[in-house]
Symmetry: C2
Subunit: 417 residues, 2 copies
């Protein structure tokens, strides 16, 4: 009997360590030629599965995989795909046609909360159809908002990038303290959660006078009066004030501070940082600067967290183990075993149990006045940014290599969107 093939796909926003997970899946699958045939990767996520755009990963040799493991961005491509309910049946039929056409027996879907929903539904669909598929999730998101895992691969490196950025920008602005006061605002990702904003608090190293002096997270309702009073208090004492703003911070009525644009159902957040900086300038007259690292924060391969990278690999390997064990509609998680020194291992969670949920900062991670995070938040995040990885460089830049993608021949009629 020919072994079933494995199909791997990215979903949603990419991270600095997402390829590490992909490589781990490929290597773990290759290690079991008795059970797994070829390893395919979907080109541009689930849209690539529908289009039958499958990449044959066997052209990547061990040296290429080692290098790919350190490359940010999803080399096979990804997409945001919200299944229109009216199309659900037609889409699901097509997915299984593609699976059948390419003898896919294992599907590893690397994504966040929404993807875990897809994993659960595809797992069910396989059972209903009597199609021999084991569908497993692989957790990934810089937002760190997946329920059921202590942390999410991708978060640690973005957290390290942002904490370092706040530390460095803080040294710059502290150099330039003038008589009129100046504020620096950094807007960070995280959608409805403040995990990435909280990470910047590590820059202060426990020093209350060190940046960031204020951390605004979506979990605390934004109170303009209290906020401006705190900015003034800090600036009068220190001459400057450094502020982290989570992109999803909300007014007491629940409205976003600023909403950039809607892209179909997906609200693309942004603008909170400049809105806050302008608010300070208009009300207090201070000089204002703002930074928006945007994609830079989730693509910082030159400054990876070694812990994050190791966890990204671990969930990839574990996903293959789960698939081989027939654990349909599950996903591997990171479990925190001990705090100091930090120890972790890999657990298992049901995709259906966490699908579409969102893990926000627990109340005890937010300072009572809602203007900063607590030391508990720092204790939680600290180990996740630990460790550095030396990237190969060429001409002063990271040498991320080039990875030509070999699409296999299609066997089905074209997919009509």
């Amino acid at each position: 009997m020919t072994q079933a093939n494995l199909l791997y796909a990215h979903s949603g926003g990419v991270t600095a360590v997402i390829n590490a997970t992909a490589v781990a899946v490929i290597q773990a699958a290759r290690a079991r030629p008795d059970r797994i045939g070829k390893v395919f990767a979907a080109h541009r996520g689930i849209l690539g599965v529908l289009a039958e755009d499958l990449i044959d990963t066997s052209v990547l040799d061990e040296a290429a995989l080692q290098r790919l493991s350190l490359r940010p961005g999803g080399v096979f491509g990804s997409c945001r795909f919200d299944l229109p309910p009216s199309e659900a049946r037609r889409v699901m039929d097509r997915l299984f046609e593609v699976f059948a056409a390419h003898r896919i027996g294992y599907f590893a879907y690397n994504g966040g909360n929404g993807s875990m929903d897809a994993v659960a539904r595809m797992g069910e669909a396989a059972a209903e159809r009597g199609y021999p598929l084991v569908c497993v999730g692989v957790p990934k998101t810089v937002d760190n908002d997946i329920v059921g895992t202590d942390c999410c691969p991708g978060f640690g490196s973005a957290a390290k990038y942002l904490a370092t950025s706040m530390l460095e920008a803080g040294l710059d602005i502290a150099s330039m303290v003038g008589s009129r006061g100046s504020v620096f605002v950094m807007e960070v990702m995280g959608r409805n959660t403040g995990w990435l904003a909280a990470a910047t608090a590590l820059a202060a190293g426990g020093n209350a006078d060190a940046p960031p002096h204020i951390v605004l997270v979506p979990e605390a309702k934004f109170d303009e009066t209290a906020f401006l009073a705190e900015v003034r208090r800090v600036t009068e004492r220190l001459g400057y004030c450094a502020i982290t703003v989570g992109e999803g911070i909300k007014r007491p009525d629940g409205g976003l501070i600023m909403e950039k644009s809607r892209d179909g159902g997906y609200v693309q957040l942004g603008g909170a940082g400049s809105a806050i900086a302008r608010m300070i300038h208009e009300n207090l007259g201070y000089k204002h600067h703002w930074a928006i690292p945007d994609y830079l924060q989730r693509a910082g391969g030159h400054w990876l967290s070694a812990t994050d990278h190791a966890q990204a690999i671990a969930v990839g390997e574990a996903a293959v183990d789960l698939a081989l064990a027939g654990r349909n509609a599950c996903f591997p998680t990171i479990r925190r075993l001990a705090e100091a020194p930090y120890r972790w291992d890999v657990g298992i969670e049901d995709a259906a149990r966490v699908a579409n949920l969102e893990r926000t900062l627990p109340p005890e991670f937010v300072r009572e006045d809602g203007l900063h995070v607590s030391s508990l938040a720092c204790d939680y995040i600290r180990p996740l940014i630990e460790g550095e990885i030396v990237q190969p460089t060429k001409g002063g830049l990271p040498d991320y290599g080039a990875f030509p993608l070999h699409l296999i021949e299609r066997r089905l009629p074209a997919w009509l969107k």
Copy 2:
């Protein structure tokens, strides 16, 4: 006879390697106890000299200096200080009172074009007054716009940071290419010059299809129609378009694309990136993201250019040599001796000759259509970002250390602003 003391001061915006220069000045001065007594550093630049806030650097031992050399931001503080013409005499009198009170015989002023003007004027004033001062400049600016030097310490590290950021963000956005097209805009510093914008072109490594696809520099007048046509052409071919925008780009009538605020006579630039991103979205309907690294680009100590760091040290050492040689109103420059392999040494320039000039990109560094830079620009910048430096870390973050500043006792009446 007691040796004269040396006073060192920062001026204007700081850089990731400005402390390396400060350390080099201190170490070179310490190496000549026969000629130089104490080394003082002004607290917060020239304002600190006026206020008689002088830091005694002798409390920094060799280990502290080694560590300080790798710390971004100006540890002694800096300021922007535009001398009001009506106050010129009073200010100059005060400076020489402070010099006399603390036996300052050497003044090393680390700054950009404006600072070279100050160096020239202070040098003249010393001669007029018959005060035994040698006043030397030390070049520094991320904008790379000082005339008379091949490049400016601070530029190489900012250039490396931005080229790396474009490379990494480009990998991210390329992963997420969708059917509707998406654009990514990164706004960079540089004021009226496109040196930093040009640096991001190194990310493409000579590949015309790789980010950045468009580089807008202030030296080329911004033509909205031609620009939007190019964005459309790139996006239709590749599915996405990555764009670098210099903060100082101008419309054909010379007006800035967006001007954030005026702070006295100093125009604080910013907003060009988001303005361009919105322009694309409104005209072409593409998804749009923008990044503003702001202070992060000039404070990236975790990702220094080793070449830049070495040049920052070299100009510091050379400044002391010039001071000891009595070369009043001069500053050390970086000279390019050979291109491949790159070789450089240190030259000398007159401060008065370059004061308040601005070195812009030469026409041959800008592509004819004004929408990108040429390969000549890349050839020029490439060696300046070469080499990495391993920063000591602690808890996953660069360990930049803490440097308590010891202000010496004042001897003069307070300075009334």
